[in-house]
């Protein structure tokens, strides 16, 4: 045995022997040993109440757990929707080439690296991304991905000297003296290099005695301009900088901090009409994201300063549970997890259910590839969610609360735990009601309430038949109310401002705001909060600024794997549960991925089916086998091997899977296929009947050529081609050797003069 069994014993000691400790124990053991050796599993099953077969079932069910050793560094390549659209397959291939492992993943011979694919890292507006250990690297392409590895190896060898030759000579600036520096360190900020910027400001502060307070804040939603730095002067003047890299940071220190001369070029002015940033903000409302990026998420005092916990105080002072429920019902708030059930009604059911103990669960298992709203809220304003839960607990009479959070969100988990600790100290949590964070272990199906409950109980995340609904018999058979992060985050605002203020926004049946993770082929991606009733077109063009490529919008994907693709012709669809449902998509939790005309709709449908069939728990026949068969049919269509009748077969399977599956995953899994068939049927037909991919995406059906007239012979394509299929002399037109070309599209992406044609 190559590991210390005592460590395993210690973990069991800490976590307890109950079935519900199963997943926490496995997570802790894996953290300790980097994988789950079978001997450790044996030990766990011997020392706890979990039978070996069930333990092993859990360990093999969740994506997080590994039963074989991994390399020293773990590289996770994100294959979420936005990353897929942005070329994640190419990133996997490039990393595979660089490290000598298969593109699907594997461990290098020297055991330094293990490459793995993940469903989504929640950094969609920075796509494509990879995570090495706990750090996200963003906006990659093939070349950058390989270079990231080179740099990573170098960094391991020596620690960089942060400040180098920087010298800061600070003048006395009086009221203009910078007293606080806020740096956006949500996952997106970190991925964009925010940590390095933070380190520079920290080191300079110490070295040159600059005297400002350095604050880590969450995300304000403008992911496209990360890293963001805000300077606050003694007189209260605020200056916002975007796109700050190491050299900009040094420039800000030398000029603004030291001399009081702002670095105009990098300033972002949200108020200035006509600016990109103004456009990004002017149509938004801020209810859920009210404090995001404005306060230090690790400080309860900052939350209190902006009015935190006043809603709870108000409830505590004079609102009966019935009154709270009534307020929420009247506000018209509907579940933001996607299904859109009335939150107030849900609370009422649970309130009325008989039970000596009741539970509430905050579903923060944001598994939808292409969505990161919950992550941002938890990372930027965790107390808001706690406050919503505390009010809910009061309303339904719950004593225990759980936050079921994705393990892929380590920062969110960390900040939640800090917030819970602080709330306990202040007495908001504790005696009457307490909250525990449960880390999910990687299973999209656990977004389904009954599967989520099974997982908290320490079992495989397999849904069961409803009724009984969780409101009657949930966790350990007790009445349980489950809402998602955004729903809870709305509660304090509604209580504080009254139902009418909330219901002022929106449409007849969809009230308030909705947060979307705007990503894909979009100029200004990020986290946006819009009033219900706004059109998709407004979000995409006015807020998002249209496609990043400047090409026409082809479709927008809403609702992730359970949703669908809405075509450009329906862009006047409004954000409203029923209006979106009418298109065949669903509102979903808020993933909004924009695609330009280079996205192949069959490929997109295949992408989602690949996801769902991977995430199917495997219980129901139709979902387990049916989604696999749909994927196989889609795969053969994109490979140019589609057969007559395949479309009809897809339709038949889709219809059957929808009506004969136990849970939401199976019931909605066919939606991406059905909507693309509804709006883009001719694209399927072109693949099958003509062997043609109209979008020029499906490798088996396309051919790349270089236009001799447009090619400038810059050599960029020649350098990036992974199979050396391109020849040509410098400054002369290049040529693609058809027999060698693997249609990976690297040249197409890199060509600076659009000289590469695809047909």
């Amino acid at each position: 045995m190559a590991f210390d069994m005592k460590a395993v014993d210690k973990i069991i000691e800490e976590k307890g022997k109950k079935l519900s400790a199963t997943i926490p124990i496995l997570q802790a053991v894996q953290k300790e040993l980097r994988y789950l050796p079978i001997e450790a599993l044996e030990q766990i099953s011997k020392k706890t109440e979990t039978p070996a077969a069930q333990l092993y079932g859990v360990a093999t069910f969740f994506a997080q757990f590994r039963l074989s050793p991994v390399g020293k560094h773990l590289i996770k390549v994100c294959h979420g929707t936005a990353c897929h659209v942005a070329g994640a397959i190419g990133i996997s291939e490039s990393l595979g080439d660089r490290l000598g492992v298969p593109a699907e993943g594997g461990t290098t011979e020297d055991k330094e690296f293990t490459v793995d694919s993940v469903a989504c890292l929640g950094c969609c507006s920075l796509a494509p991304v990879v995570m090495i250990d706990e750090t996200v690297y963003a906006k990659l392409n093939r070349q950058k991905a390989a270079k990231t590895i080179d740099n990573f190896c170098k960094c391991q060898d020596k620690k960089e000297d942060l400040l180098g030759t920087l010298a800061v000579d600070k003048k006395d600036l009086g009221g203009k003296e910078i007293v606080q520096v806020l740096i956006g360190l949500g996952s997106c900020g970190i991925a964009s290099g925010g940590k390095a910027v933070f380190d520079i400001f920290q080191a300079a502060n110490e070295k040159f005695k600059l005297g400002y307070t350095l604050t880590e804040v969450g995300c304000i939603g403008m992911c496209h301009c990360e890293p963001l730095v805000e300077l606050i002067a003694r007189d209260g003047t605020k200056t916002f900088y975007g796109y700050v890299d190491g050299s900009t940071a040094k420039k800000i220190l030398q000029e603004h901090v030291a001399q009081g001369r702002p670095v105009e070029k990098k300033i972002i002015d949200l108020e200035k009409e006509g600016s990109d940033e103004h456009a990004f903000y002017s149509k938004q409302v801020r209810i859920v994201l009210e404090n995001c990026g404005r306060i230090d998420p690790e400080s309860i005092d900052e939350y209190l300063k902006v009015g935190g916990y006043t809603a709870w105080e108000k409830v505590k002072k004079g609102m009966t549970p019935e009154l709270v429920i009534d307020e929420i019902k009247k506000s018209g708030l509907r579940g933001r997890g996607g299904a859109g059930f009335s939150t107030g009604m849900k609370w009422e059911f649970c309130r009325k259910a008989q039970g000596d103990e009741k539970y509430i669960v905050c579903n923060a298992d944001e598994g939808d590839p292409g969505a990161f709203m919950d992550r941002s809220v938890l990372e930027s304003d965790p107390h808001r969610v706690l406050e919503g839960m505390i009010i809910c607990a009061h309303a339904i009479g719950a004593t225990h609360g759980y936050i079921y959070c994705r393990a892929e969100y380590p920062l969110a988990v960390k900040r939640l735990n800090i917030a819970i600790d602080q709330a306990r100290k202040k007495g908001y949590l504790g005696k009457h009601f307490d909250i525990v964070v449960k880390e999910g272990a990687g299973a999209f199906v656990c977004g389904e309430e009954t599967a989520l409950i099974a997982s908290i109980e320490g079992k495989r995340g397999m849904p069961r038949v409803r009724p009984p609904f969780p409101a009657q018999a949930g966790l350990w058979g007790k009445p349980t109310n489950i809402n998602n992060v955004e729903t809870f985050a709305n509660i304090p605002w509604i209580v504080n401002n009254g139902f009418a203020a909330f219901a002022k926004y929106g449409t007849e049946k969809s009230k308030g705001s909705k947060v979307f993770a705007l990503a894909g082929d979009i100029k200004r991606g990020g986290l946006v909060e819009v009033p219900m009733g706004i059109t998709l077109w407004e979000i995409i063009t006015d807020i998002g600024g249209g496609t990043s490529s400047g090409r026409p919008v082809k479709a927008v994907q809403l609702g992730g794997p359970s949703g669908g693709c809405i075509p450009d012709t329906l862009m006047n669809t409004i954000v409203d549960y029923d209006a979106v449902n009418a298109t065949g998509a669903i509102m979903g939790s808020g993933g909004m991925v924009v695609m330009d005309d280079r996205a192949c709709m069959v490929d997109i449908a295949k992408f989602f089916l690949d996801f769902t069939q991977n995430e199917s728990c495997g219980k129901c026949t139709f979902c387990r086998i049916g989604t696999r068969r749909m994927l196989e049919i889609l795969t053969r269509i994109t490979n140019g091997e589609g057969r007559k009748g395949d479309i009809e077969l897809l339709e038949e399977l889709a219809a059957q899977i929808k009506v004969s599956s136990l849970c939401g995953l199976g019931q909605t899994a066919p939606n991406p296929v059905l909507t693309t068939l509804k709006y883009f049927r001719s694209e399927y037909e072109a693949h099958i009947n003509e062997g043609r991919c109209p979008a020029g995406k499906c490798r088996a059906l396309i051919e790349y050529t270089i236009s001799a007239e447009r090619c400038t012979g810059c050599g960029a394509c020649l350098a990036i081609c992974p199979v050396k299929a391109i020849t040509g002399e410098k400054k002369k037109a290049h040529l693609i050797l058809e027999s060698v070309c693997t249609q990976c599209g690297a040249c197409y992406q890199i060509c600076p003069v659009d000289a590469i044609d695809v047909k």
């Binding site: 079978i38 599993l41 044996e42 039978p51 070996a52 077969a53 069930q54 092993y56 079932g57 093999t60 069910f61 299973a443 495989r460 397999m462 069961r464 038949v465 009724p467 069939q613 991977n614 995430e615 199917s616 728990c617 495997g618 219980k619 129901c620 026949t621 139709f622 387990r624 086998i625 049916g626 989604t627 696999r628 068969r629 196989e632 077969l649 038949e652 399977l653 059957q656 929808k658 009506v659 004969s660 599956s661 136990l662 019931q667």
Partner: protein, 703 residues
């Protein structure tokens, strides 16, 4: 409380499931994952029903009733869903319901069954199982071209099992025994049937009709019964006494065989129709086709079958020293080898295509060459001329072109390659047809096909005239004996239905899942099988055997037979009878290939002394896991992984006997497929059914 079940009110109580209520009301809803002793699981979704007002179908096993719930258990939507459900399960189910040899055998003989019984030294049981489908195993054990062996999976390891020789061994042992097995005739039905033709089809029909208790009379034009088995196959391949003994056993069942009675001359069908309740025509295909060669008539070409018949009848046949046989089928080979035995010094077969296309059995071709027959491939006679010295043949060499309608490459003459050959006699064996002139005088027209065969319904063997059935070569054109035998059996089943006044549907076709053709079967199945070469058939030396008509192949000894029987892999599923998914596939007319795709991999665990686990047959209903956990509290089994690749495995995916299993066997009967089965052999299976009084012949598939 009440619900509305298929339009009718049904009383029920709060807390009951729809399934429970339906069962009480006598409505059968299929289930796979549901068992009364286990908590509802709702995974298979075969038990779905339609509830008025709900957009989705609901699993009846776990949906509780509520007052006035309006439920449809067999609506078109429900049936369509169940059909697809079974299709999806089958698309991921890997196994053979029946062994490929049995499925390939036209007669559907339970081959693993009889081989396993032989290995167990229970030959008496083995002959019974064979005769449930084939009345002449000793004869066919000698002459059958063995389609079964071409699909024998053992060939993936080394060579096919000698199925046919083993069958012959068992049948020979039976014939040699003091009291050979005679099938028991059924209780007299009072119905009489006339059969025309005492060949394999006619006698087989007679055998099976007698088993049902009908009175059977067989008419035949020849002086001896047996049809082509007697008059088309030379005695060195099928000794006359063997055939006679087997036919004798049929006669002992009470079948009357009237010989030297020729249809159209000695009697008519019209007359039979008046005297009997039904007529079965099995008149064969015994007229030779012409070679269509210039000078064929004048040149005096002898027809192959006429030649063989004359030899069989003991007539004097003058063929001289140099014989040329034209054709590539078994008749050509038989004629050539018979010519050698008649003293011909040089025998040449001329065939217009190459060896690969030759329709005769490979073993027969080799035996002929071994005996000195010269085969000239790609050779076509074009002209014949006779003079005092014999026959001069003008031939041309051929080359192969594109495949024709039969799939064989079409021979094309090579210009200028003409040559001449000399022969003392030319035997033409290029094909046979049905002599339908015997039907000319009937007052009704029996419909014929464009190939001049009798036009019958291929499932029921009915002709266009009510009460007249036909089968065998006269309906199919010349084919192998075992096909004719199978036709006789199937026609008998239809005639039995006709007598009973039932709808004539023929023999029902069961659903048979398959892992595909021999070469398609997954390699993992064979990896652990140790090689053991096929047991050769002892035979007379070539030089000696051409001297007379003594049987060339002398048969297995007991030792050889047992050794060969051990080679059988016992393909097929031991849960064939109990399998629910197979029954549902038939019931819902599921098409297993509609959703063909990746399948679960082959996994066999036989570490438990009593239980065999075949993971590739599992449909993940979880019944075994749940009974072990919920009822036994042992948790020896569990789900592993998720989604399409999820599996049922013992603890830590270790061998079954390393788990906490106490071999209580509670899980085995809950398995709806053959994924979990008791470790029985095909022989155990046969003996078990025997003990239960089940006639397996009714259950075993025919094609």
């Amino acid at each position: 409380m009440k619900i509305i079940l298929n339009g009718k009110e049904a009383k029920c109580e709060c807390g009951e499931t729809i399934l429970t209520v339906a069962k009480r009301e006598g409505i059968t809803i299929p289930t796979l994952c549901h068992h009364e002793e286990l908590a509802p699981f709702a995974s298979c979704f075969i038990c779905v029903v339609e509830v008025k007002g709900l957009p989705r179908l609901v699993p009846s096993c776990s949906t509780l009733v509520s007052d006035n719930l309006d439920v449809q258990t067999h609506s078109p939507r429900v049936l369509a869903s169940r059909k697809v459900c079974v299709e999806l399960l089958l698309s991921d189910h890997c196994g053979d319901c029946r062994a490929p040899c049995q499925v390939t055998c036209p007669a559907g003989i339970d081959i693993p069954g009889f081989i396993s019984l032989l290995a167990k030294s229970t030959e008496k049981e083995a002959i019974k199982i064979i005769k449930e489908n084939l009345p002449f195993p000793a004869s066919l054990g000698r002459v059958c071209p063995r389609p079964c062996e071409t699909e024998c999976r053992r060939a993936r390891v080394d060579d096919a099992v000698s199925i046919c020789f083993l069958k012959r061994y068992i049948a020979d042992k039976d014939l040699e025994s003091p009291a050979p097995y005679i099938a028991t005739p059924g209780k007299s039905s009072g119905k009489k049937v006339a059969i025309v033709g005492a060949g394999p089809a006619g006698l087989s029909a007679a055998f099976f009709l007698r088993k049902e208790g009908h009175a059977v009379t067989v008419f035949d034009a020849h002086p001896e019964p047996g049809g082509m088995l007697r008059y088309g196959i030379p005695a060195y391949r099928l000794p006359r006494d063997i055939l006679a003994k087997e036919i004798g056993l049929i006669e002992k069942m009470g079948v009357d065989i009237l010989l030297n009675k020729r249809l159209g001359k000695d009697f008519t069908i019209d007359k039979l129709k008046k005297e009997y309740d039904a007529v079965f025509l099995a008149i064969g295909a015994q007229s030779a086709s012409d070679m269509r060669v210039e000078g064929e008539k004048e040149g005096g070409a002898i027809s192959g079958i006429a030649f063989l018949e004359d030899v069989a009848l003991g007539k004097k046949v003058n063929i001289g020293n140099e014989v040329v046989v034209v054709g590539g089928g078994n008749t050509a080979i038989d004629a050539a080898r018979t010519s050698l035995r008649f003293g011909a010094k040089k025998v040449t077969i001329m065939y217009r295509r190459s060896r690969d296309e030759m329709p005769a059995n490979k073993v027969e071709i080799e035996a002929a060459e071994h005996e000195g027959v010269d085969i000239q491939f790609l050779t076509l006679p074009q002209k014949m001329a006779k003079d005092a010295s014999g026959v001069t043949l003008t031939c041309i060499k051929m080359q192969l072109g594109e495949p024709d309608a039969s799939g064989r490459r079409k021979p094309i003459p090579i210009p200028g390659s003409e040559f001449t050959a000399h022969a003392s006699a030319v035997i033409s064996a290029i094909g046979q047809g049905v002599d339908t002139t015997c039907l000319d005088d009937e007052p009704f027209d029996i419909k014929l096909t464009k190939w001049n065969t009798l036009d019958v319904n291929s499932d029921t063997f009915e002709t266009n005239v009510a009460g007249i059935f036909a089968g065998g070569d006269c309906a199919t054109g010349a084919d192998i004996a075992v096909t004719a035998t199978a036709a006789g059996k199937k026609a008998a089943a239809s005639i039995d239905q006709y007598f009973k006044g039932e709808k004539i549907t023929g023999t029902p076709k069961p659903y048979l899942h398959s892992m595909g053709k021999k070469e398609e079967a997954p390699q993992e199945l064979f990896e652990k099988v140790e090689e053991a070469p096929r047991t050769g058939m002892p035979e007379l030396p070539a030089k000696e055997r051409i001297k007379d008509f003594a049987e060339v192949e002398t048969g297995f000894t007991m030792e050889l037979a047992r050794k060969e029987a051990e080679r059988c892999l016992s393909c097929g599923c031991r849960s064939y009878e109990s399998c629910t998914i197979r029954r549902l596939a038939l019931e819902y007319k599921s098409e297993p290939d509609r959703f063909a795709g990746a399948k679960r991999h082959i996994f066999v665990d036989e570490s438990n002394p009593q239980i065999r686990y075949e993971g590739h047959k599992c449909i993940l209903c979880g019944s075994c896991i749940r009974v072990c956990s919920e009822v036994k509290k042992l948790d020896a089994l569990g789900f592993v992984k998720r989604g399409f690749v999820a599996e049922m495995k013992p603890i830590f995916e270790r061998p079954w006997n390393k788990s906490t299993c106490d071999s209580c066997l509670k899980c085995v009967p809950l398995c709806p497929t053959g994924a979990l089965s008791l470790k029985v052999t095909p022989a155990d299976e046969v003996l078990m059914f025997r003990a239960m009084g089940v006639d397996a012949s009714k259950k075993i598939p025919n094609q």
